[in-house]
Subunit: 327 residues, 2 copies
Protein backbone atom coordinates (compact mmCIF):
# COMPACT_ATOMS: atom_id res chain seq x y z
CA UNK A 1 0.00 0.00 0.00
CA UNK A 2 1.04 3.58 -0.66
CA UNK A 3 1.08 5.92 2.32
CA UNK A 4 1.09 9.73 2.38
CA UNK A 5 2.01 11.64 5.54
CA UNK A 6 1.13 15.36 5.49
CA UNK A 7 2.88 17.13 8.34
CA UNK A 8 5.73 14.59 8.25
CA UNK A 9 8.37 17.03 9.53
CA UNK A 10 6.68 17.69 12.86
CA UNK A 11 7.46 15.89 16.09
CA UNK A 12 4.61 13.37 15.88
CA UNK A 13 4.99 13.11 12.08
CA UNK A 14 8.64 12.07 12.32
CA UNK A 15 7.89 9.47 14.99
CA UNK A 16 5.00 8.14 12.89
CA UNK A 17 7.23 7.78 9.83
CA UNK A 18 9.84 5.91 11.91
CA UNK A 19 7.17 3.57 13.26
CA UNK A 20 5.75 2.90 9.77
CA UNK A 21 9.21 2.10 8.40
CA UNK A 22 10.07 -0.08 11.39
CA UNK A 23 6.95 -2.17 10.94
CA UNK A 24 6.98 -2.12 7.13
CA UNK A 25 3.25 -2.67 6.96
CA UNK A 26 -0.09 -1.32 8.10
CA UNK A 27 -2.56 -3.91 9.29
CA UNK A 28 -0.62 -6.65 7.49
CA UNK A 29 -0.50 -4.81 4.14
CA UNK A 30 3.10 -4.07 3.12
CA UNK A 31 4.00 -0.42 2.62
CA UNK A 32 5.28 -0.15 -0.95
CA UNK A 33 5.82 3.60 -1.05
CA UNK A 34 5.91 6.48 1.35
CA UNK A 35 5.34 10.14 0.44
CA UNK A 36 6.23 12.77 3.02
CA UNK A 37 4.99 16.36 2.84
CA UNK A 38 5.27 19.37 5.10
CA UNK A 39 5.71 23.12 4.89
CA UNK A 40 9.45 22.45 5.17
CA UNK A 41 10.99 19.60 3.17
CA UNK A 42 10.92 16.53 5.45
CA UNK A 43 14.24 14.74 5.99
CA UNK A 44 14.01 11.46 4.06
CA UNK A 45 14.78 8.62 6.49
CA UNK A 46 16.91 5.60 5.55
CA UNK A 47 14.63 2.96 4.09
CA UNK A 48 14.45 0.12 1.60
CA UNK A 49 11.17 1.32 0.08
CA UNK A 50 10.79 4.33 -2.24
CA UNK A 51 10.32 7.56 -0.30
CA UNK A 52 9.45 10.93 -1.81
CA UNK A 53 9.45 14.23 0.04
CA UNK A 54 7.84 17.57 -0.76
CA UNK A 55 7.74 21.03 0.77
CA UNK A 56 4.23 22.30 0.13
CA UNK A 57 1.77 25.09 0.89
CA UNK A 58 -1.47 23.28 1.71
CA UNK A 59 -3.52 26.43 1.35
CA UNK A 60 -3.09 26.24 -2.44
CA UNK A 61 -5.84 24.01 -3.90
CA UNK A 62 -3.61 22.47 -6.60
CA UNK A 63 -1.17 21.19 -3.95
CA UNK A 64 -3.61 18.62 -2.61
CA UNK A 65 -4.37 17.38 -6.11
CA UNK A 66 -0.63 16.90 -6.64
CA UNK A 67 -0.19 15.13 -3.30
CA UNK A 68 -2.82 12.53 -4.14
CA UNK A 69 -1.91 12.21 -7.84
CA UNK A 70 -0.26 8.88 -7.00
CA UNK A 71 -3.50 7.71 -5.30
CA UNK A 72 -2.19 6.87 -1.79
CA UNK A 73 -4.27 4.17 -0.09
CA UNK A 74 -3.70 5.70 3.33
CA UNK A 75 -3.25 9.37 4.18
CA UNK A 76 -2.23 10.77 7.55
CA UNK A 77 -3.05 14.49 7.78
CA UNK A 78 -1.19 15.97 10.75
CA UNK A 79 -0.31 19.39 9.34
CA UNK A 80 -1.56 22.46 11.17
CA UNK A 81 -0.72 25.96 12.26
CA UNK A 82 -0.52 25.65 16.05
CA UNK A 83 -2.95 27.27 18.43
CA UNK A 84 -0.93 30.35 19.33
CA UNK A 85 -0.12 31.19 15.73
CA UNK A 86 -3.71 30.61 14.54
CA UNK A 87 -4.81 33.06 17.24
CA UNK A 88 -2.15 35.62 16.31
CA UNK A 89 -2.68 35.35 12.54
CA UNK A 90 -6.41 34.87 11.93
CA UNK A 91 -6.19 34.60 8.15
CA UNK A 92 -3.24 32.19 8.11
CA UNK A 93 -4.93 29.88 10.60
CA UNK A 94 -8.09 29.61 8.50
CA UNK A 95 -6.07 29.33 5.28
CA UNK A 96 -3.96 26.38 6.47
CA UNK A 97 -6.09 24.65 9.10
CA UNK A 98 -9.49 24.99 7.43
CA UNK A 99 -8.93 25.65 3.72
CA UNK A 100 -5.92 23.32 3.56
CA UNK A 101 -7.93 20.39 4.95
CA UNK A 102 -10.93 21.23 2.78
CA UNK A 103 -8.75 21.33 -0.34
CA UNK A 104 -7.43 17.87 0.57
CA UNK A 105 -10.97 16.51 1.02
CA UNK A 106 -12.06 18.13 -2.25
CA UNK A 107 -9.06 16.72 -4.13
CA UNK A 108 -9.91 13.24 -2.84
CA UNK A 109 -13.61 13.68 -3.75
CA UNK A 110 -12.83 14.87 -7.26
CA UNK A 111 -10.22 12.13 -7.79
CA UNK A 112 -12.76 9.50 -6.77
CA UNK A 113 -15.56 10.55 -9.06
CA UNK A 114 -14.39 8.59 -12.07
CA UNK A 115 -13.82 5.34 -10.23
CA UNK A 116 -13.33 3.76 -6.88
CA UNK A 117 -10.68 5.91 -5.18
CA UNK A 118 -11.69 6.26 -1.53
CA UNK A 119 -8.59 6.31 0.70
CA UNK A 120 -8.46 5.98 4.46
CA UNK A 121 -7.76 9.46 5.84
CA UNK A 122 -6.53 9.74 9.43
CA UNK A 123 -6.91 13.33 10.64
CA UNK A 124 -5.44 14.69 13.87
CA UNK A 125 -7.95 16.81 15.71
CA UNK A 126 -7.52 18.17 19.22
CA UNK A 127 -9.18 18.48 22.60
CA UNK A 128 -9.15 22.22 21.74
CA UNK A 129 -12.56 21.61 20.15
CA UNK A 130 -13.89 21.71 23.72
CA UNK A 131 -14.31 24.94 25.68
CA UNK A 132 -15.72 26.17 28.97
CA UNK A 133 -17.97 25.53 30.73
CA UNK A 134 -16.88 21.89 30.95
CA UNK A 135 -17.80 19.03 33.29
CA UNK A 136 -15.05 17.41 35.39
CA UNK A 137 -15.10 14.41 33.06
CA UNK A 138 -16.17 15.16 29.49
CA UNK A 139 -18.38 12.52 27.87
CA UNK A 140 -18.31 11.41 24.25
CA UNK A 141 -21.50 13.37 23.47
CA UNK A 142 -20.41 16.74 24.88
CA UNK A 143 -20.76 19.61 22.44
CA UNK A 144 -17.88 21.46 20.82
CA UNK A 145 -17.60 25.12 21.78
CA UNK A 146 -13.95 25.93 21.04
CA UNK A 147 -12.46 29.06 22.57
CA UNK A 148 -9.66 29.48 20.04
CA UNK A 149 -9.63 29.85 16.27
CA UNK A 150 -7.44 26.72 16.16
CA UNK A 151 -10.08 24.72 18.04
CA UNK A 152 -12.77 26.15 15.74
CA UNK A 153 -10.81 25.09 12.67
CA UNK A 154 -10.33 21.57 14.05
CA UNK A 155 -14.03 21.28 14.93
CA UNK A 156 -15.01 22.39 11.41
CA UNK A 157 -12.61 19.88 9.82
CA UNK A 158 -14.16 17.13 11.97
CA UNK A 159 -17.59 18.02 10.57
CA UNK A 160 -16.25 18.01 7.01
CA UNK A 161 -14.49 14.68 7.58
CA UNK A 162 -17.76 13.11 8.77
CA UNK A 163 -19.80 14.52 5.90
CA UNK A 164 -17.28 13.54 3.20
CA UNK A 165 -17.13 10.05 4.75
CA UNK A 166 -20.93 9.76 4.97
CA UNK A 167 -21.16 10.70 1.30
CA UNK A 168 -18.64 7.98 0.44
CA UNK A 169 -15.90 10.30 -0.83
CA UNK A 170 -13.30 9.30 1.77
CA UNK A 171 -12.92 6.79 4.60
CA UNK A 172 -12.12 9.22 7.40
CA UNK A 173 -11.14 8.84 11.04
CA UNK A 174 -10.55 11.95 13.16
CA UNK A 175 -8.67 11.52 16.42
CA UNK A 176 -8.63 14.16 19.13
CA UNK A 177 -5.14 14.05 20.58
CA UNK A 178 -4.54 14.77 24.28
CA UNK A 179 -1.75 17.17 25.26
CA UNK A 180 1.48 15.40 24.34
CA UNK A 181 4.04 14.88 27.13
CA UNK A 182 6.98 14.63 27.33
CA UNK A 183 7.43 16.81 24.25
CA UNK A 184 11.11 16.57 23.28
CA UNK A 185 13.24 19.55 22.35
CA UNK A 186 13.62 23.00 23.80
CA UNK A 187 11.13 24.83 26.01
CA UNK A 188 8.60 26.80 23.95
CA UNK A 189 6.15 29.57 24.78
CA UNK A 190 2.99 27.49 24.43
CA UNK A 191 0.80 27.88 27.51
CA UNK A 192 0.90 24.08 27.87
CA UNK A 193 4.69 23.95 27.66
CA UNK A 194 5.25 23.53 31.38
CA UNK A 195 3.47 20.15 31.46
CA UNK A 196 6.45 18.77 29.52
CA UNK A 197 9.03 21.19 30.88
CA UNK A 198 8.69 20.13 34.52
CA UNK A 199 9.64 16.60 33.45
CA UNK A 200 12.00 17.16 30.51
CA UNK A 201 14.26 19.77 32.09
CA UNK A 202 14.80 17.99 35.46
CA UNK A 203 15.48 14.71 33.61
CA UNK A 204 18.26 16.61 31.82
CA UNK A 205 19.53 18.04 35.10
CA UNK A 206 18.10 21.50 34.47
CA UNK A 207 15.69 23.76 36.31
CA UNK A 208 12.07 24.10 35.16
CA UNK A 209 9.36 26.60 36.05
CA UNK A 210 5.91 25.50 37.19
CA UNK A 211 3.53 28.45 36.65
CA UNK A 212 0.30 26.83 37.98
CA UNK A 213 -0.88 25.08 41.14
CA UNK A 214 0.04 21.44 41.80
CA UNK A 215 -3.68 20.64 41.84
CA UNK A 216 -4.20 21.45 38.14
CA UNK A 217 -5.55 18.42 36.31
CA UNK A 218 -5.23 17.78 32.59
CA UNK A 219 -5.32 15.11 29.89
CA UNK A 220 -2.14 13.58 28.49
CA UNK A 221 -0.55 11.10 26.10
CA UNK A 222 3.05 10.24 25.33
CA UNK A 223 4.38 10.73 21.79
CA UNK A 224 4.53 6.93 21.54
CA UNK A 225 0.84 6.65 22.47
CA UNK A 226 0.02 9.33 19.88
CA UNK A 227 1.76 7.29 17.16
CA UNK A 228 -0.13 4.25 18.40
CA UNK A 229 -3.46 6.07 17.99
CA UNK A 230 -2.56 7.08 14.44
CA UNK A 231 -1.58 3.57 13.38
CA UNK A 232 -4.64 2.07 15.06
CA UNK A 233 -6.87 4.63 13.31
CA UNK A 234 -5.39 3.45 10.02
CA UNK A 235 -6.37 -0.12 10.87
CA UNK A 236 -9.80 -0.03 12.46
CA UNK A 237 -12.97 -1.21 10.76
CA UNK A 238 -14.64 2.15 10.10
CA UNK A 239 -18.04 0.47 9.69
CA UNK A 240 -18.00 0.40 13.51
CA UNK A 241 -17.89 4.21 13.59
CA UNK A 242 -21.21 4.71 11.84
CA UNK A 243 -21.44 8.33 10.70
CA UNK A 244 -19.56 9.65 13.75
CA UNK A 245 -16.04 9.64 12.40
CA UNK A 246 -14.32 11.60 15.18
CA UNK A 247 -13.08 10.17 18.45
CA UNK A 248 -11.64 11.53 21.67
CA UNK A 249 -8.51 9.49 22.33
CA UNK A 250 -8.12 7.69 25.68
CA UNK A 251 -5.47 9.79 27.37
CA UNK A 252 -4.31 9.79 30.95
CA UNK A 253 -5.90 12.27 33.39
CA UNK A 254 -3.37 13.51 35.92
CA UNK A 255 -2.67 16.44 38.20
CA UNK A 256 0.62 18.27 38.28
CA UNK A 257 1.16 16.62 41.71
CA UNK A 258 0.78 13.21 40.12
CA UNK A 259 3.24 14.20 37.37
CA UNK A 260 5.78 15.26 39.99
CA UNK A 261 5.22 12.15 42.13
CA UNK A 262 5.92 10.00 39.07
CA UNK A 263 9.05 12.00 38.34
CA UNK A 264 10.22 11.38 41.89
CA UNK A 265 9.59 7.63 41.57
CA UNK A 266 11.50 7.44 38.30
CA UNK A 267 14.30 9.99 38.87
CA UNK A 268 14.35 10.80 42.58
CA UNK A 269 14.15 13.97 44.63
CA UNK A 270 17.21 15.43 42.94
CA UNK A 271 15.03 15.75 39.83
CA UNK A 272 11.92 17.11 41.53
CA UNK A 273 14.01 19.65 43.44
CA UNK A 274 14.71 21.33 40.11
CA UNK A 275 11.06 22.38 39.71
CA UNK A 276 10.61 26.03 40.68
CA UNK A 277 7.11 27.22 41.54
CA UNK A 278 6.58 30.66 39.98
CA UNK A 279 2.83 31.30 39.60
CA UNK A 280 1.93 33.13 36.37
CA UNK A 281 -1.61 34.48 36.45
CA UNK A 282 -1.92 34.61 32.66
CA UNK A 283 -1.11 30.92 32.32
CA UNK A 284 -3.23 30.07 35.39
CA UNK A 285 -6.23 31.74 33.74
CA UNK A 286 -5.70 30.05 30.37
CA UNK A 287 -5.25 26.59 31.83
CA UNK A 288 -8.30 26.99 34.11
CA UNK A 289 -10.52 26.68 31.03
CA UNK A 290 -8.92 23.51 29.71
CA UNK A 291 -10.38 20.01 29.83
CA UNK A 292 -9.44 17.96 32.89
CA UNK A 293 -10.50 14.47 31.85
CA UNK A 294 -12.56 12.57 29.28
CA UNK A 295 -14.55 9.36 29.26
CA UNK A 296 -13.27 8.38 25.79
CA UNK A 297 -15.31 5.19 26.01
CA UNK A 298 -16.04 5.01 22.27
CA UNK A 299 -12.35 5.02 21.43
CA UNK A 300 -11.57 2.48 24.14
CA UNK A 301 -14.28 0.17 22.83
CA UNK A 302 -12.63 0.46 19.41
CA UNK A 303 -9.31 -0.67 20.86
CA UNK A 304 -7.46 2.63 21.18
CA UNK A 305 -5.10 2.52 24.16
CA UNK A 306 -3.44 5.36 26.08
CA UNK A 307 -0.54 5.31 28.51
CA UNK A 308 -0.97 3.19 31.65
CA UNK A 309 0.61 5.68 34.05
CA UNK A 310 2.71 8.83 34.25
CA UNK A 311 5.66 6.65 35.27
CA UNK A 312 5.31 4.98 31.86
CA UNK A 313 5.12 8.36 30.10
CA UNK A 314 8.40 9.36 31.75
CA UNK A 315 10.08 6.03 30.98
CA UNK A 316 9.03 6.38 27.31
CA UNK A 317 10.76 9.77 27.21
CA UNK A 318 13.92 8.29 28.75
CA UNK A 319 13.90 5.38 26.29
CA UNK A 320 13.01 7.30 23.12
CA UNK A 321 14.79 10.62 23.70
CA UNK A 322 17.54 10.08 26.27
CA UNK A 323 18.97 6.78 25.06
CA UNK A 324 17.59 4.94 28.06
CA UNK A 325 19.47 6.80 30.77
CA UNK A 326 18.86 9.95 32.78
CA UNK A 327 21.43 12.71 32.16
Amino acid sequence: MKVLVIGAAGMVGRKLVSALLASGNVGGRAITGLALADVVDPQPPQATIPITTAAVDLSRPEVSAQLIADRPDLIFHLAAIVSGEAEADFEKGYRINLDGTRHLLEAIRLAGQGGSYRPRLVFTSSIAVFGEPLPEVIGDTHHHTPLTSYGTQKAICELLLSDYSRRGFVDGVGIRLPTIVVRPGKPNKAASGFFSGILREPLAGQEAVLPVADSVRHWFASPRAAVGYLVHAANIDTALLGHQRNLTMPGLAATVSEEIAALERVAGTSATALIKREPDQTIIDIVAGWPKAFEASRAQALGFRGDASFDEIIRIHIEDELGGTIG
Copy 2:
Protein backbone atom coordinates in the same frame (compact mmCIF):
# COMPACT_ATOMS: atom_id res chain seq x y z
CA MET B 1 -30.96 51.84 12.33
CA LYS B 2 -30.36 50.21 8.97
CA VAL B 3 -31.46 46.60 8.60
CA LEU B 4 -30.41 44.04 5.99
CA VAL B 5 -32.40 40.84 5.46
CA ILE B 6 -30.66 38.15 3.39
CA GLY B 7 -33.16 35.51 2.35
CA ALA B 8 -35.97 38.07 2.37
CA ALA B 9 -38.05 36.33 -0.32
CA GLY B 10 -38.53 33.10 1.63
CA MET B 11 -41.54 32.28 3.77
CA VAL B 12 -39.96 33.30 7.08
CA GLY B 13 -38.10 36.20 5.46
CA ARG B 14 -41.29 37.77 4.12
CA LYS B 15 -43.04 37.44 7.48
CA LEU B 16 -40.00 38.93 9.22
CA VAL B 17 -40.00 41.94 6.86
CA SER B 18 -43.72 42.49 7.48
CA ALA B 19 -43.16 42.35 11.24
CA LEU B 20 -40.23 44.80 11.06
CA LEU B 21 -42.27 47.26 9.00
CA ALA B 22 -45.32 46.89 11.26
CA SER B 23 -43.28 47.70 14.35
CA GLY B 24 -41.06 50.31 12.68
CA ASN B 25 -38.30 49.72 15.19
CA VAL B 26 -36.05 47.07 16.71
CA GLY B 27 -35.63 47.29 20.46
CA GLY B 28 -36.80 50.88 20.44
CA ARG B 29 -34.43 52.01 17.69
CA ALA B 30 -36.34 53.26 14.64
CA ILE B 31 -35.66 51.43 11.38
CA THR B 32 -34.47 54.10 8.93
CA GLY B 33 -33.74 51.84 5.99
CA LEU B 34 -34.39 48.28 4.95
CA ALA B 35 -32.36 46.31 2.39
CA LEU B 36 -33.81 43.03 1.13
CA ALA B 37 -31.74 40.42 -0.69
CA ASP B 38 -32.43 36.94 -1.97
CA VAL B 39 -31.56 34.74 -4.91
CA VAL B 40 -34.74 36.04 -6.54
CA ASP B 41 -35.58 39.74 -6.32
CA PRO B 42 -37.72 40.19 -3.19
CA GLN B 43 -41.06 41.95 -3.68
CA PRO B 44 -40.68 45.40 -2.10
CA PRO B 45 -43.49 45.85 0.42
CA GLN B 46 -45.43 49.11 0.88
CA ALA B 47 -43.58 51.23 3.41
CA THR B 48 -42.80 54.78 4.42
CA ILE B 49 -39.09 54.10 4.90
CA PRO B 50 -36.59 53.59 2.07
CA ILE B 51 -36.44 49.96 0.92
CA THR B 52 -33.94 48.52 -1.52
CA THR B 53 -34.08 45.05 -3.02
CA ALA B 54 -31.43 42.93 -4.71
CA ALA B 55 -31.28 39.54 -6.41
CA VAL B 56 -27.87 38.13 -5.47
CA ASP B 57 -25.68 35.05 -5.63
CA LEU B 58 -24.21 34.79 -2.13
CA SER B 59 -21.55 32.33 -3.26
CA ARG B 60 -19.71 35.20 -4.99
CA PRO B 61 -17.40 36.91 -2.46
CA GLU B 62 -17.94 40.42 -3.83
CA VAL B 63 -21.70 40.15 -3.26
CA SER B 64 -21.38 40.22 0.52
CA ALA B 65 -19.11 43.26 0.35
CA GLN B 66 -21.77 45.01 -1.75
CA LEU B 67 -24.57 44.00 0.62
CA ILE B 68 -22.81 45.56 3.61
CA ALA B 69 -21.43 48.59 1.75
CA ASP B 70 -24.12 50.69 3.43
CA ARG B 71 -23.02 49.37 6.88
CA PRO B 72 -26.29 47.89 8.14
CA ASP B 73 -26.50 47.90 11.95
CA LEU B 74 -28.50 44.69 11.99
CA ILE B 75 -28.29 41.78 9.56
CA PHE B 76 -30.64 38.82 9.40
CA HIS B 77 -29.10 35.97 7.41
CA LEU B 78 -31.82 33.46 6.56
CA ALA B 79 -30.68 32.40 3.09
CA ALA B 80 -29.92 28.74 2.47
CA ILE B 81 -30.21 25.90 0.01
CA VAL B 82 -32.68 23.56 1.70
CA SER B 83 -31.78 20.14 3.02
CA GLY B 84 -32.95 18.05 0.09
CA GLU B 85 -31.22 20.22 -2.50
CA ALA B 86 -27.98 20.39 -0.47
CA GLU B 87 -28.02 16.58 -0.38
CA ALA B 88 -28.75 16.27 -4.11
CA ASP B 89 -26.22 18.92 -5.19
CA PHE B 90 -23.19 18.60 -2.92
CA GLU B 91 -21.20 21.44 -4.46
CA LYS B 92 -24.08 23.91 -4.55
CA GLY B 93 -24.94 23.25 -0.91
CA TYR B 94 -21.39 23.98 0.24
CA ARG B 95 -21.12 26.95 -2.11
CA ILE B 96 -24.24 28.70 -0.81
CA ASN B 97 -24.67 27.43 2.75
CA LEU B 98 -21.00 27.39 3.81
CA ASP B 99 -19.07 29.67 1.46
CA GLY B 100 -21.91 32.19 1.24
CA THR B 101 -22.05 32.60 5.01
CA ARG B 102 -18.27 32.69 5.30
CA HIS B 103 -18.05 35.39 2.63
CA LEU B 104 -20.57 37.43 4.62
CA LEU B 105 -18.54 37.03 7.83
CA GLU B 106 -15.34 37.91 5.99
CA ALA B 107 -16.90 40.99 4.38
CA ILE B 108 -18.01 42.16 7.84
CA ARG B 109 -14.57 41.45 9.34
CA LEU B 110 -12.75 43.30 6.57
CA ALA B 111 -15.19 46.24 6.70
CA GLY B 112 -14.62 46.56 10.44
CA GLN B 113 -10.85 46.64 10.39
CA GLY B 114 -10.53 50.37 9.78
CA GLY B 115 -12.96 51.41 12.49
CA SER B 116 -15.76 50.26 14.69
CA TYR B 117 -18.15 48.43 12.37
CA ARG B 118 -19.44 45.39 14.27
CA PRO B 119 -23.08 44.71 13.36
CA ARG B 120 -25.49 42.35 15.08
CA LEU B 121 -25.83 39.28 12.85
CA VAL B 122 -28.78 36.97 13.43
CA PHE B 123 -28.18 33.64 11.70
CA THR B 124 -30.80 30.94 11.26
CA SER B 125 -29.40 27.54 12.03
CA SER B 126 -31.39 24.34 12.33
CA ILE B 127 -32.04 21.31 14.51
CA ALA B 128 -30.49 19.44 11.55
CA VAL B 129 -27.13 19.97 13.31
CA PHE B 130 -28.21 17.04 15.53
CA GLY B 131 -28.13 13.43 14.37
CA GLU B 132 -28.65 9.93 15.71
CA PRO B 133 -28.16 8.50 18.23
CA LEU B 134 -30.15 11.07 20.19
CA PRO B 135 -31.65 11.09 23.69
CA GLU B 136 -35.43 11.51 24.06
CA VAL B 137 -34.88 15.09 25.21
CA ILE B 138 -31.76 16.76 23.82
CA GLY B 139 -29.90 18.99 26.25
CA ASP B 140 -28.12 22.25 25.46
CA THR B 141 -24.70 20.58 25.65
CA HIS B 142 -25.38 17.68 23.28
CA HIS B 143 -22.85 17.35 20.47
CA HIS B 144 -23.55 18.07 16.81
CA THR B 145 -23.29 15.06 14.53
CA PRO B 146 -25.37 16.08 11.52
CA LEU B 147 -26.51 13.38 9.12
CA THR B 148 -27.01 15.64 6.13
CA SER B 149 -24.71 18.01 4.27
CA TYR B 150 -27.20 20.78 5.09
CA GLY B 151 -26.87 20.07 8.82
CA THR B 152 -23.08 19.93 8.45
CA GLN B 153 -23.04 23.32 6.74
CA LYS B 154 -25.25 24.85 9.45
CA ALA B 155 -23.04 23.37 12.21
CA ILE B 156 -19.91 24.78 10.54
CA CYS B 157 -21.50 28.23 10.18
CA GLU B 158 -22.38 28.13 13.90
CA LEU B 159 -18.71 27.53 14.72
CA LEU B 160 -17.64 30.38 12.44
CA LEU B 161 -20.26 32.70 13.94
CA SER B 162 -18.94 31.99 17.44
CA ASP B 163 -15.30 32.46 16.47
CA TYR B 164 -15.90 35.68 14.52
CA SER B 165 -17.93 36.98 17.48
CA ARG B 166 -15.27 35.93 20.03
CA ARG B 167 -12.66 37.78 17.98
CA GLY B 168 -14.85 40.90 17.99
CA PHE B 169 -15.52 41.01 14.25
CA VAL B 170 -19.29 40.64 14.51
CA ASP B 171 -21.95 40.43 17.20
CA GLY B 172 -23.51 37.12 16.23
CA VAL B 173 -26.51 35.14 17.45
CA GLY B 174 -27.31 31.79 15.85
CA ILE B 175 -30.76 30.35 16.41
CA ARG B 176 -31.65 26.73 15.69
CA LEU B 177 -35.18 26.81 14.35
CA PRO B 178 -37.59 23.95 15.03
CA THR B 179 -39.60 22.48 12.17
CA ILE B 180 -42.02 25.21 11.11
CA VAL B 181 -45.75 24.36 11.13
CA VAL B 182 -48.16 25.22 9.64
CA ARG B 183 -46.08 26.04 6.57
CA PRO B 184 -48.37 27.92 4.15
CA GLY B 185 -48.60 27.18 0.44
CA LYS B 186 -48.76 23.99 -1.54
CA PRO B 187 -47.66 20.52 -0.41
CA ASN B 188 -43.97 19.92 -1.15
CA LYS B 189 -41.79 16.83 -1.29
CA ALA B 190 -39.81 17.54 1.88
CA ALA B 191 -39.86 14.53 4.19
CA SER B 192 -41.22 16.84 6.91
CA GLY B 193 -44.01 18.15 4.68
CA PHE B 194 -46.75 16.00 6.22
CA PHE B 195 -46.40 17.69 9.63
CA SER B 196 -47.89 20.81 8.00
CA GLY B 197 -49.96 18.99 5.39
CA ILE B 198 -52.16 17.10 7.86
CA LEU B 199 -53.23 20.46 9.29
CA ARG B 200 -53.14 22.78 6.27
CA GLU B 201 -55.04 20.59 3.81
CA PRO B 202 -57.93 19.62 6.15
CA LEU B 203 -58.28 23.28 7.23
CA ALA B 204 -58.79 24.04 3.51
CA GLY B 205 -61.29 21.20 3.14
CA GLN B 206 -58.86 18.92 1.34
CA GLU B 207 -57.46 15.46 1.97
CA ALA B 208 -53.96 15.00 3.39
CA VAL B 209 -51.71 11.94 3.63
CA LEU B 210 -50.09 10.90 6.91
CA PRO B 211 -47.12 8.62 6.05
CA VAL B 212 -45.92 7.87 9.62
CA ALA B 213 -47.37 6.50 12.85
CA ASP B 214 -49.49 8.72 15.10
CA SER B 215 -46.94 8.17 17.86
CA VAL B 216 -44.13 10.03 16.04
CA ARG B 217 -42.89 12.92 18.17
CA HIS B 218 -41.13 16.01 16.86
CA TRP B 219 -40.22 19.64 17.63
CA PHE B 220 -42.25 22.52 16.22
CA ALA B 221 -42.73 26.27 15.99
CA SER B 222 -45.27 28.42 14.14
CA PRO B 223 -44.05 30.90 11.52
CA ARG B 224 -45.09 33.65 13.95
CA ALA B 225 -42.93 32.14 16.71
CA ALA B 226 -40.00 31.91 14.26
CA VAL B 227 -40.29 35.62 13.49
CA GLY B 228 -40.48 36.26 17.23
CA TYR B 229 -37.19 34.37 17.76
CA LEU B 230 -35.49 36.41 15.05
CA VAL B 231 -36.61 39.75 16.44
CA HIS B 232 -35.71 38.71 19.99
CA ALA B 233 -32.26 37.58 18.82
CA ALA B 234 -31.79 41.07 17.36
CA ASN B 235 -32.57 42.58 20.77
CA ILE B 236 -30.88 40.43 23.41
CA ASP B 237 -27.83 41.47 25.36
CA THR B 238 -25.22 39.23 23.76
CA ALA B 239 -22.89 39.66 26.74
CA LEU B 240 -25.17 37.07 28.38
CA LEU B 241 -24.22 34.52 25.71
CA GLY B 242 -20.53 34.45 26.57
CA HIS B 243 -18.67 32.77 23.73
CA GLN B 244 -21.50 30.31 22.99
CA ARG B 245 -23.36 32.26 20.37
CA ASN B 246 -25.74 29.55 19.16
CA LEU B 247 -29.01 28.58 20.79
CA THR B 248 -31.60 25.87 20.36
CA MET B 249 -34.93 27.67 20.20
CA PRO B 250 -37.72 26.64 22.62
CA GLY B 251 -40.13 24.86 20.32
CA LEU B 252 -43.11 22.71 21.14
CA ALA B 253 -42.66 18.93 21.38
CA ALA B 254 -45.71 17.09 20.11
CA THR B 255 -46.76 13.76 18.63
CA VAL B 256 -48.77 13.43 15.46
CA SER B 257 -51.65 12.31 17.73
CA GLU B 258 -51.41 15.56 19.64
CA GLU B 259 -51.38 17.52 16.37
CA ILE B 260 -54.53 15.73 15.24
CA ALA B 261 -56.26 16.16 18.60
CA ALA B 262 -55.58 19.91 18.40
CA LEU B 263 -56.97 19.97 14.86
CA GLU B 264 -60.12 18.26 16.09
CA ARG B 265 -60.53 20.79 18.93
CA VAL B 266 -60.11 23.73 16.55
CA ALA B 267 -61.81 22.44 13.39
CA GLY B 268 -63.83 19.36 14.36
CA THR B 269 -63.96 15.76 13.15
CA SER B 270 -64.90 16.85 9.62
CA ALA B 271 -61.32 18.15 9.39
CA THR B 272 -59.56 15.18 11.00
CA ALA B 273 -61.57 12.78 8.82
CA LEU B 274 -59.66 14.17 5.82
CA ILE B 275 -56.36 12.69 7.10
CA LYS B 276 -55.56 9.47 5.23
CA ARG B 277 -53.07 7.08 6.84
CA GLU B 278 -50.76 5.74 4.12
CA PRO B 279 -47.53 4.49 5.73
CA ASP B 280 -44.41 5.25 3.64
CA GLN B 281 -41.38 3.29 4.80
CA THR B 282 -38.90 5.74 3.31
CA ILE B 283 -40.35 8.65 5.25
CA ILE B 284 -40.79 6.49 8.37
CA ASP B 285 -37.07 5.66 8.28
CA ILE B 286 -35.97 9.29 7.72
CA VAL B 287 -38.18 10.69 10.47
CA ALA B 288 -37.08 7.98 12.93
CA GLY B 289 -33.67 9.67 13.14
CA TRP B 290 -35.01 13.15 13.84
CA PRO B 291 -34.96 14.97 17.19
CA LYS B 292 -38.06 14.47 19.34
CA ALA B 293 -37.64 17.20 21.94
CA PHE B 294 -35.10 19.65 23.38
CA GLU B 295 -34.50 21.23 26.76
CA ALA B 296 -33.70 24.65 25.23
CA SER B 297 -33.20 26.02 28.74
CA ARG B 298 -30.50 28.51 27.72
CA ALA B 299 -32.79 30.14 25.17
CA GLN B 300 -35.70 30.19 27.61
CA ALA B 301 -33.54 31.86 30.25
CA LEU B 302 -32.69 34.49 27.64
CA GLY B 303 -36.39 35.20 27.06
CA PHE B 304 -37.03 33.30 23.84
CA ARG B 305 -40.60 31.98 23.76
CA GLY B 306 -42.17 29.25 21.64
CA ASP B 307 -45.82 28.45 20.99
CA ALA B 308 -47.95 27.58 24.02
CA SER B 309 -49.85 24.71 22.38
CA PHE B 310 -50.67 23.08 19.06
CA ASP B 311 -54.12 24.67 19.26
CA GLU B 312 -52.33 28.03 19.19
CA ILE B 313 -50.19 26.96 16.22
CA ILE B 314 -53.35 26.08 14.29
CA ARG B 315 -55.11 29.31 15.27
CA ILE B 316 -52.06 31.31 14.11
CA HIS B 317 -52.35 29.63 10.70
CA ILE B 318 -56.07 30.44 10.51
CA GLU B 319 -55.44 34.09 11.50
CA ASP B 320 -52.36 34.74 9.38
CA GLU B 321 -53.10 32.64 6.27
CA LEU B 322 -56.84 32.01 6.09
CA GLY B 323 -58.17 35.45 7.00
CA GLY B 324 -59.39 34.23 10.39
CA THR B 325 -61.88 31.62 9.14
CA ILE B 326 -61.71 27.97 8.15
CA GLY B 327 -62.55 27.37 4.49
